[in-house]
């Protein structure tokens, strides 16, 4: 897709497809399943798994379960912490020569600012994961409080000049939060993260898994959000939810997204992004569409 070229803030994308946070490990195995040519041809940007100031070992098992056309995950933001991330994980990811966006999460605003400080000059952009609890406000999710999100983005923006996206939670006061991001000069919105969900793993003894739902099941929900938000908010939207095929990606682009992220599809088939790109190009030709 040689013609594609999108500016989002000062991020330049050569394809409209990104790999979403947490769905391609730490990149260690990416080139085991995709050739360098496939990576360059299909991936516009790589969004890393969520990184925090301190390392986190994540949740105990079980962490994942299949539901009808969906996946519930409760990984618990397992990550090596920003220091080790920069030293050990980031350098190989940068070797792909594709824009790298680091997904960040913290427990208070300063955490995010501290993380951004650490990444200055290092990467093409950051994506703020606001689906996490704020310990200073009694554990309320950032995403439940538009004011908190505005403060968060403002503070990070002060020290971060390159691409800054906020990854919205699909639940809570989504439209107000989106407006906050706009006012606080975020460059883009990622719509959206997973949906709070639960599945029963066993009846006796009762075992349940609470976590976030992703995959095809949520596509009609997130597509609706993208459609509504793109009509009410000035920021470019990056759609993310249940994209498995090129047709799914095109649906997002047609419903108002400027680019999309691929998540669960990478887990089903690590070559998904290359196949989606191929299908998308064919569809654009078939329908005589461009954007």
């Amino acid at each position: 897709m040689k013609e594609f070229f999108l500016n989002l803030g000062n991020l330049k994308l050569n394809t409209p497809l990104m790999l979403s946070s947490g769905t391609w490990g730490w990149g260690e195995n990416l080139s085991k399943f995709l050739s360098l040519a496939e990576i360059k041809y299909s991936i516009g940007a790589l969004v890393t798994k969520g990184v925090s100031l301190e390392p986190k070992e994540g949740n105990p098992p079980p962490r994942i379960a299949e539901t009808p056309c969906g996946l519930i995950n409760s990984i618990g933001l397992e990550n090596p912490g920003i220091k080790e991330f920069k030293a050990k994980y980031l350098p190989p990811i940068k070797l792909y020569e594709i824009p790298v966006i680091v997904n960040l999460f913290g427990e208070k605003i300063e955490d995010f600012v501290g993380l951004a400080e650490e990444l200055k000059e290092e990467v093409s952009g950051i994506e703020l994961n606001i689906s996490c609890p704020n310990v200073e406000k009694g554990g309320i999710l950032f995403s439940d409080n538009p004011k908190l999100v505005k403060d968060l983005v403002r503070e990070v923006r002060k020290i971060w000049n390159s691409f800054l996206a906020v990854k919205l939670s699909p639940v809570g006061p989504v439209f107000e939060v989106a407006k906050s991001c706009e006012r606080a000069e975020s460059d883009a919105l990622v719509v959206a993260n997973t949906y709070p969900a639960l599945t029963v793993l066993s009846f006796k003894p009762l075992k349940i898994l609470k976590g976030g739902l992703s995959g095809p099941a949520i596509k009609p929900l997130t597509l609706r959000l993208v459609w509504e938000l793109s009509q009410r908010v000035g920021l470019p939207i990056i759609g993310c939810g249940g994209i498995i095929t090129g047709k799914d990606a095109l649906e997002y682009l047609i419903c108002g997204a400027k680019a999309v992220q691929i998540g669960t599809a990478n887990l089903i088939n690590p070559k998904s992004v290359a196949e989606i790109m191929e299908e998308l190009e064919k569809l654009l030709k078939t329908y005589g569409l461009s954007y």
Partner: protein, 258 residues
């Protein structure tokens, strides 16, 4: 993922099926004993995830899997006919560790599957294989295993064939009678309760033990971080990239079995 053509998919007994897939010789050569592949069992979105299966045997460009029908994915798989194409991904996971010491294999049910390919490839055969199931019909591929001239003890819970009882009871008796001094290693694969009993036996005779574990896998490629196994030293390891075979003493066994 690669396309592979089914050339056989037949019921072997009980709920056990043998699946044969033809792939390129090149691909077939990449698999080592203990590694697995995942199979997309349907072109629709339910079930959503490919299911993982250990390599049971390889002949040239022919891969064999031995699987038990337990849920919707394996049910669909069992209805696929020769000549159909399936999408597969592999090799995934780490091979069985190289065991230098004499060792005994203990397998329950579908846990026997992966040891076929081990026997085919290894130059260091096990001392013995204990293979247990619930009832006679579930003893599958016995002829195949017998070809390797390794002592094979067949165990059925209901005594309908071979030794009656649990496979771990047969194991314990053997150890008690013959291996008290030699201290062989154990390599075990089967349902959790069986592995638990294997560990009890291993503790009693102080045997180094490798466990082949299972858990639901979303990706099988290290991408999702979902398949964690608690470690004794704290933290987790990931079954799909660091396993499925683990040295028991490195695991936080209480949490693994909780």
């Amino acid at each position: 993922m690669f396309e592979a053509k089914v050339f056989i998919n037949q019921r072997e007994g009980g709920e056990y099926y043998l699946l044969g897939l033809r792939v390129s010789e090149n691909l077939a050569k990449k698999f080592l004993p203990g590694q697995f592949l995942k199979i997309r069992v349907s072109s629709t979105l339910d079930p959503l995830f490919p299911r993982p299966f250990t390599i049971h045997a390889i002949e040239g460009s022919k891969l064999y899997l031995l699987y038990r029908v337990v849920g919707k994915g394996t049910q669909i798989l069992s209805k696929i006919l020769p000549e159909e194409e399936l999408k597969i991904l592999g090799p995934l996971g780490k091979p069985f560790p190289e065991i230098k010491e004499p060792y005994i294999i203990c397998a329950g049910g579908a846990g026997i599957a992966g040891f076929g390919y081990l026997l085919q490839k290894t130059s260091h055969l096990p001392l013995k294989i204990f293979y247990g199931v619930r009832t006679k019909e579930e003893l599958v591929r016995v002829n195949f295993y017998e070809k390797f001239h390794v002592s094979l003890t067949l165990v059925t819970e209901d005594g309908s064939y071979g030794t009656k009882g649990l496979v771990t009871e047969a194991l314990e008796e053997e150890l008690e009678n013959k291996f008290k001094k030699y201290k062989p290693c154990l390599l075990a694969c089967g349902p959790l309760p069986m592995l638990k009993s294997v560990l009890k036996v291993a503790k009693k005779y102080q045997l180094k033990t490798f466990l082949v574990l299972e858990t639901f896998l979303a990706c099988g490629t290290g991408f999702c971080r979902g398949c964690v196994i608690p470690l004794r030293k704290g933290g987790y390891t990931h079954l799909c990239i660091e396993g499925p075979t683990f040295l028991a003493e490195e695991l936080d066994l209480e949490r693994v079995f909780s």
